[in-house]
């Protein structure tokens, strides 16, 4: 195991099972978003939680603004986590943008993954008329970044902490007792730009690992049309429509989320047995 990655990405492992299930938090949040979901998998699986570099209790000093200005930087984080734990055929559960990060990671190293569970995924947030409706115009996303910056005024009053040297940064970091879903403005806006302006529509057709799309009701960030677009274009994918409203079913409706994931996984195992390939 690579201790550097474990510390850098704040990897936490729990559970009694052998097969690994990785939970990847969505945009801007740390691994605590899974607290109502991940324990339900500890009986059967080895549960792996982590934070992307720059978020939560990860090593802020490892944040490289160039590397993390592209989605590939976060994809590398996922690959590093898999490599550090020597994972094979793990289930990857990603929320929001993390489902795309997991998808890209699985294209690069298919052996690491057995299934992708994508909660509220979107291959492209921008509208691309007439063929594609992502939900947003460029202006909306620019305003979002502006809104993010204004929400950081309260505590990151002058410089963003990544610009300070390590010692000072460590002190600032200590003061941020509540870092849940609130990161350094530079890191957050870097992540936001990497997420929101990418277009992965060409990548989704290349995926080799079977996947499940969890489609919420009234999700303005990943609307039904986007989920259906994915279902249509991703080989070996299934879609489950949830009653949960909004974009964060793992937080608002953890029970339904757990059940949807488990149903899919059970179903997959039975299919394999039925085909004579072998069970778990």
């Amino acid at each position: 195991m690579n201790q550097n990655t474990i510390k850098r990405n704040n990897i936490n492992i729990s559970g009694k099972g052998k097969k690994a299930i990785i939970f990847a938090p969505g945009f801007g949040c740390d691994q605590t978003v899974w607290k109502d979901v991940s324990p339900a998998f500890e009986e059967e699986y080895q549960v792996i939680l982590f934070d992307y570099v720059g978020i939560g209790s990860s090593d802020l000093s490892a944040f490289d603004p160039v590397k993390y200005s592209k989605l590939s930087g976060y994809v590398q984080d996922v690959l590093d986590v898999c490599a550090a734990l020597d994972l094979k055929e793990a289930i990857f559960v990603g929320h929001s943008v993390s489902s795309m990060i997991g998808l890209l990671a699985s294209i690069s190293k298919p052996n690491y993954f057995s299934h992708l569970i994508m909660i509220g995924p979107s291959p492209c947030y921008l509208n691309d008329p007439p063929g594609y409706y992502g939900g947003f115009e460029k202006e909306d996303l620019v305003n979002l970044i502006d809104m993010m910056e204004k929400n950081y005024i309260g505590w990151a009053n002058s410089f963003s902490i990544t610009l300070l040297n390590n010692i000072e940064r460590a002190e600032v970091a200590k003061n941020l007792e509540n870092r849940f879903c609130s990161t350094d403005p530079l890191i957050a806006t870097t992540f936001a730009k990497a997420c929101f302006f990418t277009d992965n529509r060409r990548d989704i057709v290349k995926v080799k690992v079977p996947s499940l799309i969890l489609q919420c009701t009234d999700d303005i960030i990943a609307p039904n049309v986007v989920g259906e677009y994915l279902k249509m274009n991703m080989p070996n994918s299934r879609i489950t429509y949830m009653n949960a409203i909004g974009h964060c079913p793992h937080m608002s409706d953890p029970e339904e989320t757990i059940q949807s994931i488990k149903n899919y996984l059970t179903n997959q195992t039975e299919t394999l047995v039925g085909e004579g390939v072998g069970g778990v």
Binding site: C29, L144, I153, F180, C181, H247
Partner: protein
């Protein structure tokens, strides 16, 4: 109380956990430019939000309210029924009944101020980046400077080694030059002693004295212009020539003429390397008690009779290697036993006061030749240690007692 909330100077509303509006006060309805609250109740809060605020609510507000049960000072932008945007601050808390209470304060003026703050921060960040860049450039310059310094030190070491090697070579060359010098002659008829001192490792002075026949002796002293390596090289080539000529017993004028011609030939096609020399040659015959001499531009030799009377053997010709086709004709003097002759180069005479050599020679009339040589040598060495000036030229003298 109900009435107070309706008309409070801030927006007030309650939401379901997933964001549907349950109640809303008058102030907020007016702010959103709706005719009545009925058009809003039951709708999702999204209807009153800009597109970007809708994403923000999903990414930040709802996760925070679920995880922490409260949100403070969240900046959002509302959209009115007429499509106008209103920047607001939002405080909210999650109640036990899973309802979310929201308090909303518009901040039109403050928002402009914050825009300026953000701009100022960005400028400061840019300035910081610029500074970092300059620092980086400085570091590169420093590294290059260190490298140059290292190179300089290496060159210095090479130079020091080269200097050491050269010094060793010079010492070896000095030994070679000194082996070319003839040894003192002491017998019943004649005593010839010499002193030889180079200003640097190598000397531009050279001498030789040879017993040609049982009664004939040839004595020569040359001073090649300059001093150091180039002059020393010329002395060595002249030495090999005069040694041969004098040993064969050729006439003085032939010895000197051959040396003169040799210098002319040597530098005929190479004016840059041109060297000339002064020389004095004595041909002593102890049987006839005569001395034939030729002085080519050399300081006069002192000839002292047994009674102390001194004569000077002045130049008979210009220096060798200067004018071509000069005829050399030796002069002749007779002597009686006990007479002494002192030949010297200008390095000797210039180190001493005028007539010092004459006085030294005269004063040591009754002392042995060896002691006389010691006296002159010590006088020279004293002067040499007193001042560098007196030590800057090659010094050589020959002392003869007949």
């Amino acid at each position: 109380m109900e009435n107070l909330i309706e008309n409070a100077p801030c927006g007030f509303m309650t939401l379901t956990k997933d964001g549907r509006i349950l109640t809303i006060n008058n102030k907020l309805v007016k702010l959103l430019e709706y005719p009545s609250s009925e058009l809003l109740i039951g709708k999702h809060f999204n209807v009153a939000l800009s597109n970007s605020a809708r994403i923000f609510i999903q990414f930040y507000f709802l996760p925070l309210i679920i995880a922490k049960h409260y949100v403070e000072e969240m900046y959002l932008s509302l959209t009115t029924a007429n499509g106008e945007e209103i920047p607001i601050l939002l405080n909210a808390s999650l109640q036990k009944n899973n309802e979310i209470i929201c308090v909303i304060v518009p901040m039109l003026n403050r928002s402009a101020l914050e825009d300026e703050l953000i701009n100022a921060r960005k400028m400061a960040e840019n300035a910081y980046h610029e500074k970092e860049k300059v620092l980086l450039e400085l570091e590169v310059a420093l590294r290059s400077l260190n490298k140059k310094q290292q190179e300089l030190m290496e060159t210095n070491q090479l130079n020091a080694k080269f200097k050491l090697d050269t010094e060793r070579e010079l010492q070896l060359a000095k030994k070679i030059q000194q082996t070319a010098l003839t040894k003192d002659i002491i017998n019943d008829n004649i005593q010839i002693l010499s002193y030889y001192h180079a200003s640097k490792s190598l000397s531009g002075d050279i001498y030789g004295f040879y017993q040609i026949t049982p009664h004939k002796y040839g004595v020569i002293l040359l001073d090649v212009m300059g001093h150091g390596i180039s002059s020393a090289l010329v002395t060595m080539s002249l030495q090999s020539l005069f040694q041969k000529l004098i040993s064969q017993g050729v006439a003085p004028e032939i010895v000197v003429r051959e040396l003169d011609q040799y210098l002319h030939e040597l530098f005929q096609n190479n004016q840059d390397a041109w060297h000339y020399c002064t020389a004095i040659y004595l041909n002593i015959d102890t049987s006839t008690q005569t001395i034939e001499y030729i002085n080519a531009g050399h300081p006069p030799a002192i000839f002292q009779e047994e009674n102390g009377t001194q004569h000077e053997l002045f130049a008979t010709n210009p220096p060798l290697g200067t004018f071509e086709n000069i005829s050399f004709k030796p002069k002749k003097v007779n002597y009686t036993p006990g007479a002494r002759i002192l030949l010297y180069t200008d390095g000797v005479s210039e180190a001493l006061m005028l007539n010092t050599l004459n006085h030294l020679l005269y004063d040591s009339l009754r002392t042995s030749l060896t002691e006389t040589k010691d006296i002159i040598q010590k006088t020279l060495e004293n002067m040499g240690s007193k001042s560098e000036k007196y030590n800057s030229d090659d010094q050589c003298f020959i002392l003869i007692e007949l």
